[in-house]
Amino acid sequence: MSVSSTSVRMTVNGRPVEAEAQALTTLAEYLAVVLEAETPERRRAEGLEGPAVVMMNGESVKAGRVLAVSAASAQIRSFGGLARHDGVLTPLQRAFVEAGAMLCPDCAPSLVMSALDLLNRNPIPSGEEVRDWLEDSLCPVSDADRAVSAVLAAAAATRS
């Protein structure tokens, strides 16, 4: 059985990386390797569990639903790459923490990344727009009201 793999390069959290990928290696698997996220805890910290939403060239995607080879040369940002190296959280992350919306360690990071995509497109969303945007990403454990208020608070904080 021939297992052909190629070397795939991309930029992850501002850092150029390179690793081997087979045709069916997902972006999530690739990122777990280059971010050295071997354990579930590390993958949670990077936002690679659950829906594993990351930014790819400025747009949110589910990393398990994109091939690593399709992301060759792309700019990727993971949840773990949002905070500055000194650990200072972005306003959006802070708002999620303050609203008590980081409820599930698996999917809350993906909610944050999805909300980031919304705020990039629409910096002043209405509550209804936020709710529509996040609707399909909310699992039974999450709290829609808290997530929506977190996004609205972050939008307001960025404006002031």
């Binding site: 793999s5 190629t6 087979q22 639903r65 399709s70 999805s114 399909d136």
Partner: protein, 276 residues
């Protein structure tokens, strides 16, 4: 099964050449195909990436029609102001389907090639008098579905895009299952159009053999006027509807009738502005 090769052609002719390889599959957004490849229920010897091809990415218009390239994503449709001006129902549909990450990856061509019987796209295409273009042929939207998941596409043939006629007005409505239903598709999705000539067209998703035009509903709208009341008490025949664990055929038919009335109501609320 060996891991497939991955090819990333930079032009459409190169992609068509690559698609001639035995066992080659086009990979657009991968939102339908990738899960199937990953769980082993579908195979490919070569994956030919096409979602990035500039030739498939257009969203152009002339006096009569919009041309939407097969590589166009829901987010591209929803974020294009001229679509909101001339065909707001289409933009509304694209901006509402699935979740944001899906809208950033999936493509129109992938949806038409997949031909899921509950697909909103073919329902819209039927209502909008679409012509579906491949690299070698053109089809009327009515000629597209040959049954659930069946299309006239031949091996190696690529969808290039859709030509949609700009209507006098159009509306879209869907009825969704509760969250956690296990399927991303709505239970009912109807695209309602009044053409510039005043004809009514209803594209209905959820047919047993794919999306279809609901002719009896169209006749009612033409006889009694383009208004939701004209469809009161009507529904497509249940023997033509698909059935699954979420809804049996009779229930789907009922929901399709309701969605059709909602779509007509929406068409009267949001006006296309064909003042070209």
């Amino acid at each position: 099964m060996a891991a497939p090769d991955h090819l990333r052609p930079s032009t459409l002719p190169e992609a068509l050449e690559a698609l001639k390889r035995p066992g080659a599959r086009a990979l657009a957004g991968g939102q339908a195909l990738l899960p199937l490849l990953l769980d082993g229920s579908e195979q490919a010897r070569s994956l030919v990436e096409i979602g990035h091809l500039a030739e498939l990415r257009g969203l152009d218009r002339d006096e009569e029609a919009f041309f939407v390239g097969a590589g166009t994503r829901p987010v591209d449709v929803a974020d294009t102001p001229v679509v909101w001006t001339l065909l707001p129902a289409f933009a509304e549909m694209a901006g509402a389907m699935g979740d944001p990450q899906f809208r950033n990856r999936a493509t129109l061509g992938g949806a038409l090639a997949e031909n899921h019987p509950s697909s909103c796209w073919l329902a819209a295409a039927l209502a909008l008098e679409a012509r579906i273009q491949t690299d070698r042929r053109e089809f009327l939207a009515e000629e597209w579905t040959l049954g659930a998941f069946e299309t006239p596409l031949e091996p190696g043939e690529a969808l290039v895009g859709l030509r949609l006629r700009i209507p006098r007005r159009a509306g879209w409505a869907r009825i969704r299952a509760g969250s956690g239903s296990g399927s991303p598709f709505p239970l009912a999705s109807v695209f309602a159009v009044e053409t510039r000539e005043g004809a009514a067209r209803l594209g209905v998703a959820g047919g047993r053999d794919g999306a279809f035009r609901w002719r009896a509903g169209e006749a009612a709208l033409e006889e009694s006027g383009f208004a939701p009341d004209s469809l009161a008490g009507l529904a497509p025949r249940s023997d033509g509807m698909s059935a699954d664990e979420r809804a049996d055929a009779a229930h789907r038919a009922l929901l399709a009738g309701r969605a059709a009335a909602l779509a007509v109501a929406r068409a009267l609320e949001i006006r296309s502005a064909p003042g070209l």
